[in-house]
Amino acid sequence: MSGAQSGPTLTRQVFEYTPGTRPELDHDDPLHGELLKLNMGPQHPATHGVLRLGVTLDGERIVDVDPDVGFLHRGKEKSCESLGWHKFFPHTDRLDYVQPLMNNIGYALALEKLGGIEVPPRAKVVRVLLMELSRIMAHLIYIGTLGIDLGAVTIFFYSFRQREELYKVVDAYTGHRMNNTYVRIGGVYADVDEKVAAMIEKFLADFPAALDEIDAMLTRNRIWYDRNRGIGVISKEDAVAMSLTGPTLRGSGVNWDLRRAQPYSGYEEYDFDVPVGSVGDCYDRYLVRMTEMREAAKIAKQALDKLKTVKGDVLIEDRRYVLPPKDLVHSSMEELIFQFKVVTDMRLPRGEAYHGIESSKGELGFLVASDGTSKPLRCHIRAPGLMNIQALPMLAKGRLFSDMVSLIGSMDFVMGEVDR
Protein backbone atom coordinates (compact mmCIF):
# COMPACT_ATOMS: atom_id res chain seq x y z
CA MET A 1 0.00 0.00 0.00
CA SER A 2 1.56 3.26 -1.03
CA GLY A 3 1.27 5.97 1.54
CA ALA A 4 1.04 9.42 0.03
CA GLN A 5 -1.12 9.52 -3.09
CA SER A 6 0.36 12.64 -4.67
CA GLY A 7 1.38 13.61 -8.19
CA PRO A 8 4.14 11.11 -8.99
CA THR A 9 2.09 8.07 -8.06
CA LEU A 10 -0.68 9.14 -10.36
CA THR A 11 1.74 9.62 -13.27
CA ARG A 12 3.12 6.14 -12.75
CA GLN A 13 -0.37 4.76 -12.97
CA VAL A 14 -0.95 6.62 -16.22
CA PHE A 15 2.06 4.92 -17.78
CA GLU A 16 1.20 1.50 -16.40
CA TYR A 17 -2.24 1.78 -17.83
CA THR A 18 -2.44 -0.02 -21.15
CA PRO A 19 -5.43 0.63 -23.38
CA GLY A 20 -6.28 -3.02 -23.97
CA THR A 21 -7.15 -3.60 -20.38
CA ARG A 22 -10.29 -1.53 -20.19
CA PRO A 23 -13.37 -2.86 -21.88
CA GLU A 24 -15.66 -0.78 -24.09
CA LEU A 25 -13.79 2.45 -23.56
CA ASP A 26 -15.45 5.39 -25.17
CA HIS A 27 -12.70 7.26 -27.02
CA ASP A 28 -14.96 10.21 -27.80
CA ASP A 29 -15.29 10.81 -24.10
CA PRO A 30 -13.79 14.26 -23.51
CA LEU A 31 -12.51 13.10 -20.16
CA HIS A 32 -10.61 10.21 -21.72
CA GLY A 33 -7.03 10.05 -20.61
CA GLU A 34 -7.45 12.21 -17.60
CA LEU A 35 -7.49 10.02 -14.52
CA LEU A 36 -9.36 11.01 -11.40
CA LYS A 37 -8.24 9.96 -8.00
CA LEU A 38 -11.24 9.50 -5.72
CA ASN A 39 -11.09 8.61 -2.07
CA MET A 40 -13.90 6.30 -1.06
CA GLY A 41 -14.03 6.28 2.71
CA PRO A 42 -12.91 6.10 5.47
CA GLN A 43 -16.25 7.60 6.35
CA HIS A 44 -18.15 6.31 3.35
CA PRO A 45 -21.32 4.50 4.41
CA ALA A 46 -20.83 1.76 1.81
CA THR A 47 -17.39 0.75 2.99
CA HIS A 48 -18.81 -1.00 6.08
CA GLY A 49 -16.52 0.59 8.56
CA VAL A 50 -13.40 2.64 8.33
CA LEU A 51 -11.90 1.43 5.09
CA ARG A 52 -10.36 3.90 2.68
CA LEU A 53 -10.30 2.97 -0.96
CA GLY A 54 -8.14 5.08 -3.22
CA VAL A 55 -10.01 4.62 -6.46
CA THR A 56 -8.45 5.79 -9.74
CA LEU A 57 -11.17 6.53 -12.24
CA ASP A 58 -11.23 7.02 -15.97
CA GLY A 59 -14.65 8.61 -16.36
CA GLU A 60 -16.94 6.03 -14.79
CA ARG A 61 -14.49 3.17 -15.22
CA ILE A 62 -12.26 2.03 -12.42
CA VAL A 63 -8.60 1.87 -13.38
CA ASP A 64 -7.17 0.91 -10.05
CA VAL A 65 -8.21 0.45 -6.44
CA ASP A 66 -5.87 0.86 -3.53
CA PRO A 67 -7.44 -0.41 -0.32
CA ASP A 68 -6.01 1.32 2.73
CA VAL A 69 -6.65 -0.63 5.91
CA GLY A 70 -5.63 0.08 9.47
CA PHE A 71 -7.97 2.86 10.57
CA LEU A 72 -9.46 0.63 13.24
CA HIS A 73 -6.20 -0.86 14.43
CA ARG A 74 -6.44 -1.30 18.19
CA GLY A 75 -3.49 -3.61 18.76
CA LYS A 76 -5.55 -6.67 19.63
CA GLU A 77 -2.70 -9.13 19.15
CA LYS A 78 -0.44 -7.13 21.40
CA SER A 79 -3.26 -6.75 23.93
CA CYS A 80 -3.47 -10.52 24.08
CA GLU A 81 0.23 -10.74 24.89
CA SER A 82 -0.04 -8.21 27.70
CA LEU A 83 -3.41 -9.22 29.16
CA GLY A 84 -3.04 -12.96 29.45
CA TRP A 85 -4.93 -15.99 28.25
CA HIS A 86 -8.29 -15.53 29.88
CA LYS A 87 -8.60 -11.77 29.82
CA PHE A 88 -8.39 -11.71 26.04
CA PHE A 89 -11.88 -13.21 25.66
CA PRO A 90 -13.70 -9.85 25.77
CA HIS A 91 -11.31 -8.59 23.12
CA THR A 92 -12.19 -11.43 20.73
CA ASP A 93 -15.80 -10.24 20.88
CA ARG A 94 -14.71 -6.99 19.37
CA LEU A 95 -12.87 -8.50 16.40
CA ASP A 96 -15.77 -9.35 14.16
CA TYR A 97 -18.44 -7.68 16.20
CA VAL A 98 -21.36 -9.11 14.27
CA GLN A 99 -20.61 -12.64 15.51
CA PRO A 100 -18.98 -12.30 18.94
CA LEU A 101 -19.68 -15.84 20.14
CA MET A 102 -18.05 -17.34 17.06
CA ASN A 103 -14.82 -15.44 17.78
CA ASN A 104 -14.93 -16.51 21.43
CA ILE A 105 -15.18 -20.12 20.37
CA GLY A 106 -12.38 -19.81 17.80
CA TYR A 107 -10.01 -18.45 20.43
CA ALA A 108 -11.10 -21.00 23.02
CA LEU A 109 -10.50 -23.84 20.56
CA ALA A 110 -6.95 -22.63 19.90
CA LEU A 111 -6.22 -22.48 23.64
CA GLU A 112 -7.72 -25.91 24.17
CA LYS A 113 -5.55 -27.33 21.42
CA LEU A 114 -2.53 -25.76 23.11
CA GLY A 115 -3.45 -27.08 26.52
CA GLY A 116 -4.65 -30.46 25.29
CA ILE A 117 -8.03 -29.87 26.91
CA GLU A 118 -10.93 -32.09 26.00
CA VAL A 119 -14.26 -30.25 26.06
CA PRO A 120 -17.30 -32.05 27.53
CA PRO A 121 -19.73 -33.39 24.89
CA ARG A 122 -22.59 -31.12 25.93
CA ALA A 123 -20.37 -28.04 25.68
CA LYS A 124 -19.50 -29.07 22.12
CA VAL A 125 -23.18 -29.21 21.20
CA VAL A 126 -23.85 -25.83 22.82
CA ARG A 127 -20.90 -24.38 20.92
CA VAL A 128 -22.16 -25.70 17.59
CA LEU A 129 -25.56 -24.20 18.36
CA LEU A 130 -24.01 -20.82 19.20
CA MET A 131 -21.75 -20.86 16.15
CA GLU A 132 -24.61 -21.55 13.76
CA LEU A 133 -26.78 -18.85 15.33
CA SER A 134 -23.83 -16.46 14.99
CA ARG A 135 -23.48 -17.44 11.35
CA ILE A 136 -27.11 -16.58 10.70
CA MET A 137 -26.62 -13.28 12.56
CA ALA A 138 -23.61 -12.34 10.46
CA HIS A 139 -25.17 -13.33 7.13
CA LEU A 140 -28.31 -11.36 7.97
CA ILE A 141 -26.13 -8.30 8.41
CA TYR A 142 -24.52 -9.05 5.05
CA ILE A 143 -27.90 -9.22 3.32
CA GLY A 144 -29.12 -6.10 5.09
CA THR A 145 -26.10 -3.94 4.42
CA LEU A 146 -25.64 -5.08 0.85
CA GLY A 147 -29.33 -4.37 0.37
CA ILE A 148 -29.07 -0.85 1.72
CA ASP A 149 -25.98 -0.23 -0.43
CA LEU A 150 -27.77 -1.33 -3.58
CA GLY A 151 -30.91 0.66 -2.77
CA ALA A 152 -33.07 -2.08 -1.27
CA VAL A 153 -33.71 -0.43 2.09
CA THR A 154 -36.66 -2.73 2.81
CA ILE A 155 -34.30 -5.70 3.05
CA PHE A 156 -32.28 -3.94 5.68
CA PHE A 157 -35.31 -3.73 7.94
CA TYR A 158 -36.47 -7.26 7.21
CA SER A 159 -33.11 -8.83 7.94
CA PHE A 160 -32.46 -6.69 10.99
CA ARG A 161 -35.83 -7.69 12.32
CA GLN A 162 -34.75 -11.34 12.23
CA ARG A 163 -31.41 -10.42 13.72
CA GLU A 164 -33.24 -8.68 16.54
CA GLU A 165 -35.01 -11.95 17.33
CA LEU A 166 -31.61 -13.66 17.49
CA TYR A 167 -30.25 -10.95 19.74
CA LYS A 168 -33.15 -11.51 22.09
CA VAL A 169 -32.17 -15.17 22.24
CA VAL A 170 -28.54 -14.34 22.90
CA ASP A 171 -29.59 -11.73 25.46
CA ALA A 172 -31.66 -14.29 27.33
CA TYR A 173 -28.75 -16.72 27.28
CA THR A 174 -25.74 -14.51 28.01
CA GLY A 175 -27.23 -11.35 29.49
CA HIS A 176 -25.81 -9.20 26.72
CA ARG A 177 -26.99 -8.51 23.21
CA MET A 178 -23.51 -8.01 21.80
CA ASN A 179 -19.98 -8.67 23.07
CA ASN A 180 -21.18 -11.69 24.98
CA THR A 181 -17.95 -13.17 26.43
CA TYR A 182 -19.70 -16.37 27.37
CA VAL A 183 -17.18 -18.97 26.22
CA ARG A 184 -14.47 -20.19 28.56
CA ILE A 185 -11.44 -22.40 28.21
CA GLY A 186 -12.90 -25.88 28.47
CA GLY A 187 -16.50 -25.15 27.62
CA VAL A 188 -19.06 -22.40 27.94
CA TYR A 189 -19.96 -20.36 31.00
CA ALA A 190 -23.57 -21.44 31.37
CA ASP A 191 -25.79 -24.12 29.99
CA VAL A 192 -28.57 -23.48 27.50
CA ASP A 193 -31.63 -23.94 29.68
CA GLU A 194 -35.19 -24.80 28.70
CA LYS A 195 -36.28 -21.18 28.40
CA VAL A 196 -33.49 -20.31 25.96
CA ALA A 197 -33.92 -23.59 24.09
CA ALA A 198 -37.61 -22.79 23.63
CA MET A 199 -36.72 -19.33 22.32
CA ILE A 200 -34.25 -20.80 19.83
CA GLU A 201 -36.82 -23.38 18.77
CA LYS A 202 -39.34 -20.64 18.14
CA PHE A 203 -36.82 -18.60 16.17
CA LEU A 204 -35.84 -21.60 14.03
CA ALA A 205 -39.50 -22.31 13.35
CA ASP A 206 -40.17 -18.76 12.13
CA PHE A 207 -36.88 -18.14 10.40
CA PRO A 208 -37.34 -20.14 7.12
CA ALA A 209 -40.53 -18.20 6.31
CA ALA A 210 -38.79 -14.90 6.98
CA LEU A 211 -35.88 -15.97 4.81
CA ASP A 212 -38.29 -16.94 2.05
CA GLU A 213 -39.65 -13.39 2.22
CA ILE A 214 -36.17 -11.92 1.78
CA ASP A 215 -35.56 -14.46 -0.98
CA ALA A 216 -38.75 -13.43 -2.76
CA MET A 217 -37.81 -9.77 -2.50
CA LEU A 218 -34.26 -10.16 -3.78
CA THR A 219 -33.27 -13.28 -5.66
CA ARG A 220 -35.44 -12.75 -8.76
CA ASN A 221 -35.50 -8.98 -8.44
CA ARG A 222 -34.27 -7.45 -11.68
CA ILE A 223 -32.33 -4.61 -10.07
CA TRP A 224 -30.67 -6.96 -7.62
CA TYR A 225 -29.97 -9.46 -10.39
CA ASP A 226 -28.46 -6.90 -12.75
CA ARG A 227 -26.31 -5.31 -10.10
CA ASN A 228 -24.90 -8.59 -8.85
CA ARG A 229 -24.77 -10.99 -11.80
CA GLY A 230 -21.48 -11.16 -13.65
CA ILE A 231 -19.83 -8.64 -11.36
CA GLY A 232 -16.62 -9.47 -9.58
CA VAL A 233 -16.04 -12.88 -11.10
CA ILE A 234 -13.30 -14.76 -9.26
CA SER A 235 -12.00 -17.89 -10.91
CA LYS A 236 -11.30 -21.01 -8.86
CA GLU A 237 -7.56 -20.58 -9.33
CA ASP A 238 -7.56 -16.90 -8.35
CA ALA A 239 -9.66 -17.56 -5.30
CA VAL A 240 -7.24 -20.22 -4.08
CA ALA A 241 -4.20 -18.14 -5.01
CA MET A 242 -5.47 -15.16 -3.00
CA SER A 243 -6.19 -17.46 -0.04
CA LEU A 244 -9.83 -16.50 0.04
CA THR A 245 -11.96 -18.60 2.35
CA GLY A 246 -15.55 -18.98 3.34
CA PRO A 247 -18.49 -18.03 1.14
CA THR A 248 -16.21 -15.98 -1.08
CA LEU A 249 -14.19 -19.09 -1.95
CA ARG A 250 -17.20 -21.36 -2.18
CA GLY A 251 -18.96 -18.86 -4.41
CA SER A 252 -16.15 -19.49 -6.90
CA GLY A 253 -16.93 -23.19 -6.91
CA VAL A 254 -14.28 -24.53 -4.56
CA ASN A 255 -15.74 -27.09 -2.19
CA TRP A 256 -13.80 -26.17 0.93
CA ASP A 257 -15.48 -25.84 4.26
CA LEU A 258 -13.48 -26.30 7.45
CA ARG A 259 -16.51 -27.82 9.11
CA ARG A 260 -16.15 -30.65 6.60
CA ALA A 261 -12.44 -30.54 5.80
CA GLN A 262 -11.12 -30.33 9.37
CA PRO A 263 -14.11 -30.99 11.62
CA TYR A 264 -14.02 -29.45 15.09
CA SER A 265 -16.52 -29.33 17.96
CA GLY A 266 -18.14 -32.48 16.61
CA TYR A 267 -19.27 -31.06 13.26
CA GLU A 268 -18.76 -34.49 11.66
CA GLU A 269 -21.90 -35.67 13.48
CA TYR A 270 -24.18 -33.13 11.82
CA ASP A 271 -25.94 -33.52 8.53
CA PHE A 272 -25.65 -30.46 6.33
CA ASP A 273 -24.83 -29.43 2.77
CA VAL A 274 -22.04 -27.13 1.72
CA PRO A 275 -23.40 -24.71 -0.89
CA VAL A 276 -21.02 -23.99 -3.75
CA GLY A 277 -21.35 -21.51 -6.58
CA SER A 278 -20.71 -22.10 -10.26
CA VAL A 279 -19.64 -18.75 -11.73
CA GLY A 280 -17.99 -16.90 -8.88
CA ASP A 281 -19.67 -13.51 -9.18
CA CYS A 282 -21.45 -11.42 -6.56
CA TYR A 283 -24.72 -13.18 -7.32
CA ASP A 284 -23.18 -16.58 -6.60
CA ARG A 285 -21.77 -15.36 -3.34
CA TYR A 286 -25.20 -14.02 -2.43
CA LEU A 287 -26.84 -17.35 -3.25
CA VAL A 288 -24.20 -19.26 -1.30
CA ARG A 289 -24.80 -17.14 1.78
CA MET A 290 -28.57 -17.47 1.49
CA THR A 291 -28.25 -21.25 1.28
CA GLU A 292 -25.75 -21.26 4.10
CA MET A 293 -28.27 -19.56 6.39
CA ARG A 294 -30.78 -22.31 5.67
CA GLU A 295 -28.10 -24.92 6.34
CA ALA A 296 -27.08 -23.15 9.55
CA ALA A 297 -30.69 -23.23 10.73
CA LYS A 298 -30.70 -26.96 9.92
CA ILE A 299 -27.55 -27.56 11.98
CA ALA A 300 -28.90 -25.48 14.85
CA LYS A 301 -32.07 -27.58 14.85
CA GLN A 302 -29.99 -30.77 15.03
CA ALA A 303 -27.91 -29.29 17.85
CA LEU A 304 -31.08 -28.41 19.77
CA ASP A 305 -32.29 -32.00 19.42
CA LYS A 306 -28.91 -33.23 20.57
CA LEU A 307 -29.13 -31.08 23.69
CA LYS A 308 -32.10 -33.17 24.79
CA THR A 309 -30.04 -36.37 24.76
CA VAL A 310 -26.48 -35.23 25.51
CA LYS A 311 -26.44 -34.43 29.21
CA GLY A 312 -23.69 -33.42 31.57
CA ASP A 313 -21.51 -30.44 32.34
CA VAL A 314 -20.76 -27.66 29.93
CA LEU A 315 -17.37 -26.87 31.46
CA ILE A 316 -14.50 -29.16 32.34
CA GLU A 317 -13.59 -29.74 35.92
CA ASP A 318 -9.93 -28.90 35.83
CA ARG A 319 -8.62 -26.67 38.58
CA ARG A 320 -5.71 -25.55 36.44
CA TYR A 321 -7.91 -23.68 33.99
CA VAL A 322 -11.39 -23.36 35.43
CA LEU A 323 -12.52 -21.52 38.56
CA PRO A 324 -13.83 -23.74 41.34
CA PRO A 325 -17.54 -23.55 42.32
CA LYS A 326 -18.40 -20.46 44.32
CA ASP A 327 -19.93 -22.25 47.30
CA LEU A 328 -16.83 -24.38 47.77
CA VAL A 329 -14.59 -21.32 47.72
CA HIS A 330 -16.29 -20.15 50.93
CA SER A 331 -15.73 -23.37 52.79
CA SER A 332 -12.52 -24.93 51.51
CA MET A 333 -9.03 -23.46 51.79
CA GLU A 334 -7.75 -25.48 48.78
CA GLU A 335 -10.53 -24.20 46.57
CA LEU A 336 -9.78 -20.65 47.66
CA ILE A 337 -6.16 -21.16 46.65
CA PHE A 338 -7.28 -22.54 43.28
CA GLN A 339 -9.54 -19.52 42.86
CA PHE A 340 -6.60 -17.18 43.42
CA LYS A 341 -4.31 -19.26 41.20
CA VAL A 342 -6.68 -19.37 38.25
CA VAL A 343 -7.47 -15.66 38.37
CA THR A 344 -3.95 -14.39 38.88
CA ASP A 345 -1.74 -16.97 37.19
CA MET A 346 -3.55 -19.30 34.83
CA ARG A 347 -0.85 -21.01 32.79
CA LEU A 348 -0.96 -22.98 29.59
CA PRO A 349 1.82 -25.41 28.68
CA ARG A 350 4.76 -24.47 26.49
CA GLY A 351 4.15 -24.80 22.81
CA GLU A 352 2.35 -23.43 19.82
CA ALA A 353 -1.08 -24.13 18.44
CA TYR A 354 -3.20 -22.98 15.54
CA HIS A 355 -6.88 -23.55 15.18
CA GLY A 356 -9.01 -22.28 12.36
CA ILE A 357 -12.79 -22.29 12.38
CA GLU A 358 -15.23 -21.70 9.59
CA SER A 359 -16.62 -18.34 10.61
CA SER A 360 -19.24 -16.56 8.56
CA LYS A 361 -16.52 -14.71 6.65
CA GLY A 362 -14.11 -17.58 6.16
CA GLU A 363 -11.31 -19.21 8.05
CA LEU A 364 -10.92 -17.41 11.37
CA GLY A 365 -7.72 -18.71 12.88
CA PHE A 366 -5.90 -18.08 16.12
CA LEU A 367 -2.21 -18.91 16.41
CA VAL A 368 -1.13 -18.90 20.02
CA ALA A 369 2.38 -19.52 21.27
CA SER A 370 3.14 -20.06 24.92
CA ASP A 371 6.33 -20.08 26.94
CA GLY A 372 4.59 -21.71 29.86
CA THR A 373 3.66 -18.52 31.67
CA SER A 374 0.33 -16.86 32.29
CA LYS A 375 0.71 -14.61 29.28
CA PRO A 376 0.95 -15.62 25.63
CA LEU A 377 4.26 -15.28 23.87
CA ARG A 378 2.46 -14.49 20.65
CA CYS A 379 -1.11 -14.40 19.48
CA HIS A 380 -1.79 -14.05 15.80
CA ILE A 381 -5.25 -13.70 14.36
CA ARG A 382 -5.91 -14.84 10.83
CA ALA A 383 -8.73 -12.58 9.76
CA PRO A 384 -10.63 -13.79 6.70
CA GLY A 385 -11.74 -10.26 5.89
CA LEU A 386 -8.19 -9.11 5.22
CA MET A 387 -7.80 -11.68 2.45
CA ASN A 388 -11.17 -10.70 1.03
CA ILE A 389 -10.09 -7.06 0.79
CA GLN A 390 -7.02 -8.17 -1.16
CA ALA A 391 -9.23 -9.38 -3.96
CA LEU A 392 -10.92 -5.99 -4.43
CA PRO A 393 -8.36 -4.38 -6.81
CA MET A 394 -8.38 -7.36 -9.14
CA LEU A 395 -12.17 -7.48 -9.24
CA ALA A 396 -12.77 -3.77 -9.61
CA LYS A 397 -10.41 -3.05 -12.50
CA GLY A 398 -12.30 -2.11 -15.62
CA ARG A 399 -15.69 -2.08 -13.95
CA LEU A 400 -18.05 0.82 -13.43
CA PHE A 401 -17.70 2.78 -10.22
CA SER A 402 -21.20 1.82 -9.10
CA ASP A 403 -20.16 -1.84 -9.14
CA MET A 404 -17.66 -1.05 -6.42
CA VAL A 405 -20.51 -0.95 -3.92
CA SER A 406 -21.68 -4.45 -4.88
CA LEU A 407 -18.12 -5.71 -4.67
CA ILE A 408 -17.48 -4.29 -1.21
CA GLY A 409 -20.79 -5.65 0.00
CA SER A 410 -20.29 -9.10 -1.47
CA MET A 411 -16.80 -9.45 -0.02
CA ASP A 412 -18.44 -9.01 3.38
CA PHE A 413 -15.64 -7.89 5.65
CA VAL A 414 -15.84 -6.29 9.07
CA MET A 415 -13.09 -3.79 9.72
CA GLY A 416 -12.85 -4.66 13.40
CA GLU A 417 -11.48 -7.99 12.35
CA VAL A 418 -9.40 -6.80 9.41
CA ASP A 419 -7.52 -4.11 11.34
CA ARG A 420 -7.81 -5.82 14.73
Binding site: L83, K87, T181, V279, V322, P324, P325, D327
Partner: protein, 171 residues
Amino acid sequence: MVIVQRKELTLAERLYLPEIFRGLSITFRKFFEKPITRQYPEEPLPTDEVTRGQPRLVVKDDGNIACVSCGMCEIACPAYAITIDGGETDRQIEREPKRFEIDMLRCILCGFCEEACPKDAIFMSNELELADYTRRGLIYDMEKLKRPKSALQPRIDYVYKINKRWRRTQA
Protein backbone atom coordinates in the same frame (compact mmCIF):
# COMPACT_ATOMS: atom_id res chain seq x y z
CA MET B 1 -21.76 -30.29 -1.68
CA VAL B 2 -24.68 -28.66 -3.38
CA ILE B 3 -24.32 -26.26 -6.28
CA VAL B 4 -26.56 -23.24 -5.87
CA GLN B 5 -29.23 -22.90 -8.53
CA ARG B 6 -29.06 -19.84 -10.73
CA LYS B 7 -31.55 -19.30 -13.49
CA GLU B 8 -31.80 -16.51 -15.99
CA LEU B 9 -34.70 -14.14 -15.44
CA THR B 10 -37.84 -14.95 -17.39
CA LEU B 11 -39.51 -12.40 -19.61
CA ALA B 12 -42.14 -11.65 -16.97
CA GLU B 13 -39.43 -10.99 -14.45
CA ARG B 14 -37.51 -8.78 -16.85
CA LEU B 15 -40.61 -6.75 -17.62
CA TYR B 16 -40.28 -5.27 -14.18
CA LEU B 17 -43.89 -4.18 -13.70
CA PRO B 18 -45.36 -7.54 -12.56
CA GLU B 19 -42.40 -7.91 -10.22
CA ILE B 20 -43.07 -4.54 -8.65
CA PHE B 21 -46.57 -5.66 -7.72
CA ARG B 22 -45.23 -8.94 -6.36
CA GLY B 23 -42.76 -7.05 -4.20
CA LEU B 24 -45.37 -4.57 -3.05
CA SER B 25 -47.68 -7.42 -2.08
CA ILE B 26 -45.00 -8.52 0.40
CA THR B 27 -44.32 -5.06 1.78
CA PHE B 28 -47.98 -4.04 2.03
CA ARG B 29 -48.72 -7.18 4.04
CA LYS B 30 -46.49 -5.70 6.73
CA PHE B 31 -48.99 -2.88 7.31
CA PHE B 32 -51.31 -5.33 9.02
CA GLU B 33 -48.71 -6.93 11.25
CA LYS B 34 -48.10 -6.05 14.85
CA PRO B 35 -45.40 -3.39 15.23
CA ILE B 36 -42.15 -4.71 16.70
CA THR B 37 -40.66 -1.39 17.71
CA ARG B 38 -40.37 -0.36 21.31
CA GLN B 39 -40.80 3.22 22.54
CA TYR B 40 -37.54 3.02 24.42
CA PRO B 41 -37.36 5.61 27.19
CA GLU B 42 -41.03 5.15 28.05
CA GLU B 43 -40.87 1.37 27.71
CA PRO B 44 -37.55 0.33 29.20
CA LEU B 45 -35.82 -2.89 28.22
CA PRO B 46 -36.94 -5.87 30.25
CA THR B 47 -34.21 -7.12 32.55
CA ASP B 48 -33.92 -10.28 34.59
CA GLU B 49 -31.30 -12.07 36.65
CA VAL B 50 -29.43 -13.15 33.49
CA THR B 51 -28.85 -9.52 32.48
CA ARG B 52 -25.28 -8.49 33.12
CA GLY B 53 -25.57 -4.83 33.98
CA GLN B 54 -23.13 -2.66 35.87
CA PRO B 55 -21.24 -4.29 38.73
CA ARG B 56 -22.35 -3.34 42.24
CA LEU B 57 -20.98 -3.98 45.71
CA VAL B 58 -23.01 -6.12 48.07
CA VAL B 59 -23.93 -4.57 51.42
CA LYS B 60 -24.57 -7.33 53.91
CA ASP B 61 -27.53 -7.31 56.29
CA ASP B 62 -25.36 -5.92 59.10
CA GLY B 63 -24.68 -2.79 57.05
CA ASN B 64 -21.07 -3.51 56.10
CA ILE B 65 -19.86 -4.30 52.62
CA ALA B 66 -18.73 -7.87 52.00
CA CYS B 67 -15.52 -6.78 50.26
CA VAL B 68 -12.22 -7.57 51.99
CA SER B 69 -10.12 -5.74 49.36
CA CYS B 70 -8.25 -8.86 48.20
CA GLY B 71 -7.85 -7.27 44.78
CA MET B 72 -9.02 -10.26 42.74
CA CYS B 73 -11.56 -8.28 40.75
CA GLU B 74 -8.90 -5.67 40.06
CA ILE B 75 -6.64 -8.38 38.62
CA ALA B 76 -9.42 -10.13 36.73
CA CYS B 77 -10.68 -6.94 35.08
CA PRO B 78 -9.63 -6.93 31.41
CA ALA B 79 -10.40 -3.22 31.06
CA TYR B 80 -8.50 -2.01 34.15
CA ALA B 81 -11.65 -0.35 35.40
CA ILE B 82 -11.38 -1.22 39.09
CA THR B 83 -9.15 0.54 41.61
CA ILE B 84 -8.93 -0.63 45.21
CA ASP B 85 -7.02 0.78 48.13
CA GLY B 86 -7.21 -1.58 51.06
CA GLY B 87 -6.86 -0.75 54.73
CA GLU B 88 -7.28 -2.25 58.14
CA THR B 89 -10.50 -2.35 60.07
CA ASP B 90 -11.54 -3.25 63.60
CA ARG B 91 -14.10 -5.67 62.29
CA GLN B 92 -13.37 -9.38 62.44
CA ILE B 93 -12.45 -9.57 58.75
CA GLU B 94 -9.51 -7.22 59.47
CA ARG B 95 -9.35 -5.68 56.00
CA GLU B 96 -11.76 -3.56 54.07
CA PRO B 97 -11.43 -1.21 51.10
CA LYS B 98 -10.74 2.42 51.92
CA ARG B 99 -11.30 3.32 48.31
CA PHE B 100 -13.16 1.21 45.79
CA GLU B 101 -13.71 2.81 42.42
CA ILE B 102 -15.07 1.47 39.18
CA ASP B 103 -14.58 3.61 36.13
CA MET B 104 -17.88 3.01 34.38
CA LEU B 105 -16.48 4.48 31.18
CA ARG B 106 -13.95 1.66 31.07
CA CYS B 107 -16.17 -1.12 32.35
CA ILE B 108 -17.25 -3.53 29.60
CA LEU B 109 -19.71 -5.47 31.76
CA CYS B 110 -17.97 -8.79 31.09
CA GLY B 111 -18.65 -10.15 34.56
CA PHE B 112 -15.13 -11.38 35.22
CA CYS B 113 -15.07 -9.52 38.57
CA GLU B 114 -18.19 -11.33 39.67
CA GLU B 115 -16.60 -14.67 38.77
CA ALA B 116 -13.30 -13.86 40.42
CA CYS B 117 -14.67 -12.57 43.73
CA PRO B 118 -14.13 -15.14 46.50
CA LYS B 119 -16.28 -13.28 49.03
CA ASP B 120 -19.52 -12.72 47.05
CA ALA B 121 -18.90 -9.02 47.34
CA ILE B 122 -19.40 -7.86 43.75
CA PHE B 123 -22.24 -8.84 41.47
CA MET B 124 -23.63 -7.66 38.18
CA SER B 125 -26.83 -5.72 38.75
CA ASN B 126 -29.56 -5.18 36.19
CA GLU B 127 -28.83 -1.46 36.04
CA LEU B 128 -27.90 -0.60 32.48
CA GLU B 129 -28.41 3.08 31.90
CA LEU B 130 -25.36 5.26 32.24
CA ALA B 131 -25.20 8.99 31.63
CA ASP B 132 -23.58 11.98 33.23
CA TYR B 133 -22.34 15.43 32.34
CA THR B 134 -18.75 14.85 33.46
CA ARG B 135 -16.28 12.02 33.22
CA ARG B 136 -15.48 12.29 36.89
CA GLY B 137 -19.13 11.65 37.67
CA LEU B 138 -18.90 8.30 35.93
CA ILE B 139 -16.06 7.05 38.09
CA TYR B 140 -18.22 5.44 40.73
CA ASP B 141 -16.95 5.37 44.28
CA MET B 142 -18.07 3.07 47.06
CA GLU B 143 -21.11 5.09 47.99
CA LYS B 144 -22.47 4.95 44.45
CA LEU B 145 -21.69 1.23 44.10
CA LYS B 146 -23.27 -0.01 47.33
CA ARG B 147 -26.47 -1.98 46.97
CA PRO B 148 -28.31 -3.94 49.65
CA LYS B 149 -27.98 -7.68 49.28
CA SER B 150 -31.72 -8.04 48.81
CA ALA B 151 -31.56 -5.96 45.62
CA LEU B 152 -28.91 -8.23 44.12
CA GLN B 153 -30.37 -11.49 45.45
CA PRO B 154 -31.87 -12.73 42.13
CA ARG B 155 -28.48 -12.41 40.43
CA ILE B 156 -26.66 -14.06 43.35
CA ASP B 157 -29.07 -16.98 43.20
CA TYR B 158 -28.60 -17.25 39.44
CA VAL B 159 -24.81 -17.30 39.67
CA TYR B 160 -25.01 -20.01 42.33
CA LYS B 161 -27.45 -21.93 40.18
CA ILE B 162 -25.21 -22.02 37.12
CA ASN B 163 -22.27 -22.84 39.37
CA LYS B 164 -24.11 -25.83 40.75
CA ARG B 165 -25.26 -27.12 37.42
CA TRP B 166 -21.98 -26.41 35.86
CA ARG B 167 -19.52 -28.22 38.11
CA ARG B 168 -19.96 -31.35 40.16
CA THR B 169 -19.42 -30.57 43.82
CA GLN B 170 -16.65 -32.50 45.43
CA ALA B 171 -16.88 -34.00 48.88
